[in-house]
Symmetry: C2
Subunit: 429 residues, 2 copies
């Protein structure tokens, strides 16, 4: 790591003048005095802030111009460590650990205190020594991004990598991933890799590994245990079930949602109990049916992002739909109200979209429960206008599925078939 990683211009000059570098413990006096560790900067929109990690674990940005005094408390030598050697026990099951970034793959360096998605799968493996006793783990870094920056292109890269291992001797594959958009990636992999022969587990962490409450190690260990013990196929998200450490769960990748910003048990299966409960080596199975509805492995890795998610609300502007039509969108997933409704005032635009051959699917902003467009006249009218009810598919999964279906079909009828067919447990039985 560079001694001034991420610093440029004003802030770089200030650090150099003050003889302070990344990783140093300092006291900075502004209006009040902060003590902490100078962190590297990874994203920035200006060059006049110093990033400081406080003892609480939180990071703050301090404007260079406002600093009255900076005092060096202690400085540590930066040593380039050679990559750690991982024990390998050939008698254990083989698992591939792919790293894509996120908090779970963060905090490469306790010294700097920086939370950055820079930890390689190998380092991740090494950071949790228990892993070597569970499985014989190969590691690979796909990319290092926080998941809010992931795009459908990244989904495809992960899918291609997994596809390349479809005929391997791995017992399963773990994908370390940021939690922000993990459910979107899980949904894409579920559709793209229909029938994949071994379990795929996405794992993340809600608290970085430098915090005492970190869930990183236990989630990672549990994802390996899950692969070895579950004897299942499909795409799952393995995370803490609650704030305690006694229950980790495996969620169906198309039915899971991040339902809390910060809790360790943020992920929830919508409309059902989680598919698997993981108590150390003991696995309890709730999943009633096969994850993939077609047994044969049938990868379809394309996508098309001309899909909009329209969350309807009072005061919604019909001109936004007009804009989508004019911009060449080919599919709209509505997050309607209640059982699957939108207000009369956008009926004209819905009619127009239908006339233009745009696929329209209905989900509910209630998130839980099924849409039913036969109960009220408005639901029936919307069906006549071409909107397809999508049962209890959750909105984010429907969006991802629509991008996938659009990329892998040649006309709107083929797309409708894909959208209404249960491919990867996106519809509850």
């Amino acid at each position: 790591m560079s001694e001034y990683r991420g610093y440029t211009g004003t802030s770089l000059a200030f650090l150099k003048d003050s003889k302070v570098k990344v990783g140093d413990s300092v006291k900075i006096t502004e209006d009040i005095t902060y003590a902490g560790i100078v962190m590297p900067r990874y994203e920035h929109t200006d060059d006049n802030h110093i990033a400081l990690k406080l003892k609480s674990g939180y990071n703050i940005g301090i404007e260079v111009n406002k600093i009255k005094k900076i005092e060096l408390l202690s400085s540590e030598k930066i040593e380039k460590k050679s990559p750690p050697k991982i024990k390998s026990d050939q008698s254990l099951p083989k698992i591939l650990l792919l790293s894509t970034g996120g908090t779970i793959a963060s905090k490469i360096d306790y010294r700097t205190g920086a939370v950055t998605p820079a930890l390689s799968a190998e380092e991740l493996n090494e950071a949790v020594p228990e892993l070597a006793e569970i499985a014989n783990i190969d590691t690979e870094v796909l990319f290092s991004e926080y998941s809010e920056n992931l795009e459908p292109e990244h989904w495809k890269k992960i899918a291609e990598k997994l596809d390349s291992h479809a005929k391997s001797d791995y017992k399963g594959i773990v994908v370390a991933h940021g939690t922000d958009t993990m459910q979107y990636s899980a949904a894409f992999l579920s559709f793209a890799l229909s029938g994949y022969p071994i379990p795929i587990v996405l794992v993340g962490s809600q608290r970085s590994s430098d915090r005492p409450s970190s869930d990183a190690a236990l989630n990672l260990i549990s994802s390996m245990r899950f692969i070895i013990e579950s004897n299942t196929r499909g795409v799952f998200v393995v995370m803490h079930h609650n704030e305690s450490d006694n229950l980790i769960v495996g969620h169906v990748g198309t039915r899971v949602r991040k339902n809390h910003t910060s809790k360790r048990g943020a992920f929830q299966t919508i409309g059902n109990d989680p598919a698997f409960l993981i108590f150390d080596k003991k696995i309890e199975k709730n999943l009633k049916a096969e994850f993939f509805k077609q047994n044969q492995y049938n990868p379809k890795l394309n996508f098309d992002t001309h899909v909009a998610l329209v969350k309807y609300h009072p005061g919604y502007n019909p001109k936004i739909i007009d804009f989508l039509i004019k911009s060449g969108y080919k599919a709209i997933i509505f997050e309607g109200t209640g059982l699957g409704h939108v207000g009369k005032k956008i009926y004209e635009e819905v009619k127009k979209a239908n006339g233009d051959g745009i696929f329209m699917g209905m989900t509910s902003q209630c998130i839980d429960g099924r849409v039913d467009m036969n109960v009220y006249e408005s639901g029936r009218d919307l069906q006549e206008l071409g909107i397809i009810p999508l049962s209890d598919m959750i909105p984010e999964t429907a969006l991802v599925k629509a991008m996938w279906a659009l990329g892998n079909s040649t006309n709107v009828e083929e797309m409708k078939n894909l959208m209404t067919q249960n491919i990867a447990s996106e519809f509850s039985d």
Copy 2:
């Protein structure tokens, strides 16, 4: 009711030719044979369907061209009933019941079986005889709409009506309302009528009163009990807590969400237990603080709909933000990922929106939990780009609050103050 209410063109001619009218029991043979009651049509996009209510309670539309045979089973005379007389007991507390439509105010006529938002508050009152023993109820119909068709103009009409009763001798006011957008209306009233002197209760039903599982009567009774017994002020949503009839709850109007499409216990308070538990006459209070943060009644009834709700996701098109900027939008509420993030690829558009003086607030699509834009560099960057974190305000409430704040402030700084100030318990303490 007209004998052919809502029918025009082809379907009207067909009914007349067949000597069948609205309310008649018929057997219709298409590919299969249906028996049911011919319903009036309230919304339609064509003139060639007959609406039929089946015995199951569900309605279907049958295309006239496909009908092979129609058989009249029984016909009933349409009588105009005189409005029922309501008992009035002057010793009981006075409550005003306003009707705006929705399922709770539906099913005017068991004979036709039609679910329509046409029941007046007076008829609603009469349909539940227990009400007359609880309170001395005045009734008024504001409008009769399913709530997916309600617009901010409707919110304002409700607010104006309530404002006109601010100095009345009512113990409280009940607003019968469709459940689809009830949370949006509740949020608007909470902000617009800050400090309102008596409780305002929105009440709805998830099952129409012709179904055995209807929650209409009990929710209505409980809303009256709540007003009489709760001794509180604020805007609340009173609904079933679960599928059983033994617990009705009162939710804070700015913290409530319809979280299930069909369950009677669809409404939930986000991040907390419901404010009040209502067991018949017994009320248990969970609410820790006053609903309104300012004691004085200070109505501000304006709104401005130049506010967009942007739910960020992988594959989100930055051009939609461009479109909003060009279309004169003055505020954007982001439903970001996790702790309050959006991907780097829309940073340029965010910067531009900020430069144009557009208010930008951040909520989370996780719905539960607080946004915290100080943990990760991306959150700090987005704050530098002008996005204001909105703590644990739920996205729909933030949208409504932004419309309200925009309509009641003259510049972006004033709006920022309103948006970050706790006015009606929209932020948890």
